[in-house]
């Protein structure tokens, strides 16, 4: 049998190698971006160095990048990212930038920029860097091949061990190559298994949003009820992502955040003035063939939002807490009691009521009344 295994193994390895090479070629083809003609390359470079604080001598100012990261940050950074500023000032002059930089108007920004002094020529360089940034966008994330390399490496070791076992006999004790093969195969299978489990799963998904909206600030610090914004959660399938006008109920007054200043809220206000909706990035997403109703869970089941969405009120950047896999749903249904006493609807389960009153059963789980059946979610 093992010669067959060997064949399969080498085939697998070959195909991975081919894929790897292909993606490398594809990657290099894309990565060569062009340089814009508006500013000279040296200006851009100089601006970048200043922005990043890569200066020959120590500057009295903190570098720009220490507050304004390149991209909307992974962990919340309240300040606008360089790309955001760049896009905002792309069609404005460096004087505009200078004015805002040196004499800010918002409360938060005034404090932050209080002791900052940047020479005018540097501002021009920075502006050149930013224009370049806005035109060419952020450098693309390179795909990580670490896992693949590891997989291939282990495959290689295993192949060697197999070859030795069969042909070369360099290792004296046969147990060693056998052990290597077993371990390597086990590790590879485990990798494949983990990858397979992750397929289509997106727990821990935490994308950047167009506005640095913090659930912690809104639901946590300011104690706004979830149902204020997501007000159809108890009556409709969809929980409702608040419309721009709903946001403006408060933000018509609140125009400056304690930490974010005016920058983020301004995005909302602009959208409102332009009659636009905010294009949020969707996080919690079930496949098309799953018919999930918020109303069933929030309205009828009286579940807490946190049960599925986690402690949203502690998240600055919203993250998918649970994997939303079918198994996860099923387990919850098995463990969740149904409100048999108060909800008139469940009156018709005569037998269960009898058992409850007789004490042969102390509670009815959702799965007892068919919550785990196919057609409850798939139709």
């Amino acid at each position: 049998m093992s010669h067959q295994l060997f064949k399969v193994q080498s085939l697998l390895n070959l195909s991975f190698l081919a894929l790897f090479l292909f993606s490398c070629i594809a990657g290099t083809a894309k990565s060569s971006d062009s340089h814009s003609g508006k500013h000279s390359r040296s200006d851009v470079k100089q601006g970048e160095r200043y922005y990043k604080g890569l200066l020959p001598k120590a500057s009295p100012n903190p570098s720009c990048v220490s507050c304004h990261y390149y991209k909307p940050a992974d962990t919340i950074n309240w300040n606008p990212a360089s790309i955001e500023i760049a896009e905002l000032y792309l069609n404005k002059s460096s004087e505009d930038l200078e004015e805002v930089l040196l004499s800010p108007f918002g409360k938060v920004m005034s404090v932050a920029h209080a002791n900052i002094d940047v020479p005018q020529d540097q501002i021009q360089y920075v502006k050149a860097y930013m224009d370049n940034l806005a035109e060419n966008g952020l450098p693309k994330d390179k795909p990580s091949f670490l896992k693949l390399l590891l997989f291939l490496l282990i495959g290689g070791v295993m192949t060697w061990a197999l070859l030795d076992l069969i042909f070369f006999h360099k290792v004296k004790f046969k147990a060693i190559p056998i052990l290597i093969i077993l371990l390597a195969l086990g590790y590879q299978l485990n990798m494949a298994y983990e990858a397979a489990v992750k397929l289509g799963r997106s727990d821990t998904y935490q994308p950047d949003q167009p506005i640095k909206f913090s659930h912690k600030v809104h639901a946590g610090d300011n104690k706004i009820d979830c149902m204020y914004c997501h007000h159809t959660a108890d009556e409709s399938k969809s929980a409702n992502i608040p419309s721009t006008s709903l946001c403006m109920n408060c933000h018509i007054v609140v125009r400056e955040g304690a930490r974010s200043g005016k920058f983020e809220i301004k995005k909302l206000v602009e959208a409102y003035e332009e009659g636009r909706s905010i294009e949020w990035v969707r996080i919690h997403q079930l496949p098309d063939h799953v018919f999930f109703a918020h109303a069933q869970h929030v309205g009828a089941g009286k579940l807490d939002c946190a049960q599925c969405h986690g402690a949203v009120e502690e998240m600055h950047i919203l993250k998918q807490e649970n994997d939303l896999s079918m198994g996860w749903c099923l387990n919850c249904h098995r463990e969740t009691k149904v409100d048999f006493e108060d909800n008139e609807y469940y009156q018709m389960f005569d037998e269960f009521h009898k058992e409850l009153s007789e004490g042969t059963r102390d509670s009815i789980m959702a799965s007892d009344i068919g919550a785990n059946e196919c057609s409850k979610c798939h139709y």
Binding site: I166, D323, S325, M326, W328, L330, N331
Partner: protein, 463 residues
């Protein structure tokens, strides 16, 4: 050791042990002839065309076939059952005949087993490609998943998955274990180093030690003991696909024995078709003798008669049951729009094998060859009659309809023939067609060279 001069020799010609080795290995040693090239050329072309059609039907959907709302299975499952049936002869010969100590099996079991494995591979293709969503076909395996969902162990189709794959795997094991000594033999006859190495690799380092032989024999016997019920179970389970359903003409308790005997029937017919050609092409007439053909013909008469009785029993039961749907199903078979298929089946399967009661015909190579092809056709139609005719007119007359295969289905079926013959052509070039060691082991008792000759030191124990 006893030698019966009464029995017909199983190895003709004055063949010594060395002759046996040389004769069987000859095709592996020699360069293939033009007929071999022609054969494999044609069959692989047909195979590739068949594969292209499989790809086509996966791409565009089963709608490219002639199956429809009422008749959900057409040629695909007909072919599946037919190929599985053919795949019954090999393991039957090597397992059940081994248990019954039939020496004549030794000349044909190797090729028959190879045929079995190839036929089961051809058969296994059909349940796969008849799926509407083959890319998701892995759902059929009970593997742990995040849906916490398993499979339906009540479904005969799932039993099929287990039965066919177990059968294939165990047949493969049985066949390969039997091949080990012969691969050793080939290795030692090879002159080129890489061939020697390759055959040694394949033979797992066989060296003919008495201890190995002792264990090997013991294992073969137990494997035969395991494979014997397995052979019977496979077609039994395939028959459950139909027997456990509610469709009149399918819902019959007689199906398991009827399917198994039908399978052995068709399997032997296919072995005959193949062996009659192979013995001629590879000059093995001395090993696969007319006596062998006669023995197989006897099995064909026996199983063919069982099948015939089953057909008649079915008709009787339909009448006797008093169920109008059941009665109609059988009246429809014989007299309905698909009556032609029924009568082809009846002629080929029930009437034609009865001719074998005549000894002259039984021992006629040419007649047997023609008959074996007829039986294969007849058995294909048996499956067609069961699958299509029953479905075409079941319970509600409003849904009755007819089925006609499209060229895609025909091409896929031909493609499996291409696959079958391609693999068989490769097999005869790479592996010995006859089990060398097994034939040698019966030579003393059944080869012409030894029969009737005085045997030196016959009973050493008595000294």
């Amino acid at each position: 050791m006893y030698v019966s001069p009464v029995r017909e020799p199983l190895i003709n010609g004055e063949k010594s042990y060395k002759d046996i080795t040389d004769d069987v290995i000859a095709p592996i040693h020699s360069k293939p002839g033009k007929f071999w090239y022609l054969g494999i050329g044609i069959s692989s072309t047909v195979m590739l065309f068949g594969f292209a059609m499989i790809a086509y039907s996966i791409w565009f959907g089963i709608g490219t076939w002639g199956v429809n709302r009422t008749i959900g299975w057409g040629w695909s499952i007909t072919n599946f059952v037919w190929w599985v049936g053919i795949g019954h002869a090999g393991t039957f010969i090597s397992a059940i005949l081994l248990l019954f100590r039939q020496k004549w099996r030794t000349s044909i079991n190797r090729a028959a087993e190879a045929m079995t494995i190839i036929a089961v591979m051809c058969a296994g293709l059909f349940p796969l490609i008849h799926m509407g969503r083959l890319p998701l076909g892995f759902f059929i395996f009970p593997y742990p998943n995040t849906r916490e969902l398993w499979v339906n162990f009540n479904s005969p189709l799932l039993w099929d998955v287990f039965a066919i794959s177990t059968y294939l795997l165990v047949s493969l094991l049985f066949w390969y274990m039997g091949l080990l000594p012969d691969l050793g033999t080939i290795r030692d006859r090879m002159k080129t180093v890489w061939k020697k190495k390759a055959y040694n690799f394949l033979s797992f380092g066989w060296k003919g030690s008495a201890r190995h032989w002792h264990r090997h024999e013991s294992m073969s016997l137990i494997l035969a003991g395991l494979a014997a019920p397995l052979v019977l179970s496979v077609h039994t389970i395939v028959s459950f696909d139909f027997a456990t359903s509610v469709i009149p003409g399918w819902h019959t308790t007689i199906f398991p024995p009827y399917f198994v005997s039908g399978a052995v029937f068709s399997g032997f017919a296919m072995v005959l078709t193949l062996m009659i050609v192979t013995r001629k092409a590879l000059n093995l007439e001395k090993y696969i003798t007319v006596g062998h053909i006669e023995s197989m013909n006897k099995v064909i008469i026996a199983t063919g008669s069982v099948v015939g009785i089953a057909y008649i029993t079915e008709l009787f039961m339909a009448w006797y049951s008093g169920v109008e749907y059941e009665r109609y199903a059988f009246v429809n078979r014989a007299l309905g729009p698909y009556a032609w298929a029924y009568w082809i089946m009846m002629t080929c399967n029930v009437i034609s094998p009865q001719l074998l009661w005549i000894k002259k015909l039984r021992r006629s190579v040419g007649f047997t060859f023609v008959l074996s092809i007829f039986i294969n056709i007849g058995m294909w139609f048996e499956r067609f009659v069961i699958v299509v005719t029953s479905l075409s007119r079941d319970y509600l007359p409003s849904s009755w309809t007819m089925y006609k295969p499209t060229w895609v289905e025909v091409a896929i079926f031909l493609g499996t023939f291409g696959l079958f013959f391609t693999l068989f052509f490769l097999f005869i070039r790479v592996f010995p067609v006859i089990a060398i060691a097994e034939v040698k082991s019966i030579a003393r008792s059944s080869a012409k060279k030894f029969i009737g000759k005085s045997v030196r030191n016959d009973q050493p124990e008595k000294h």
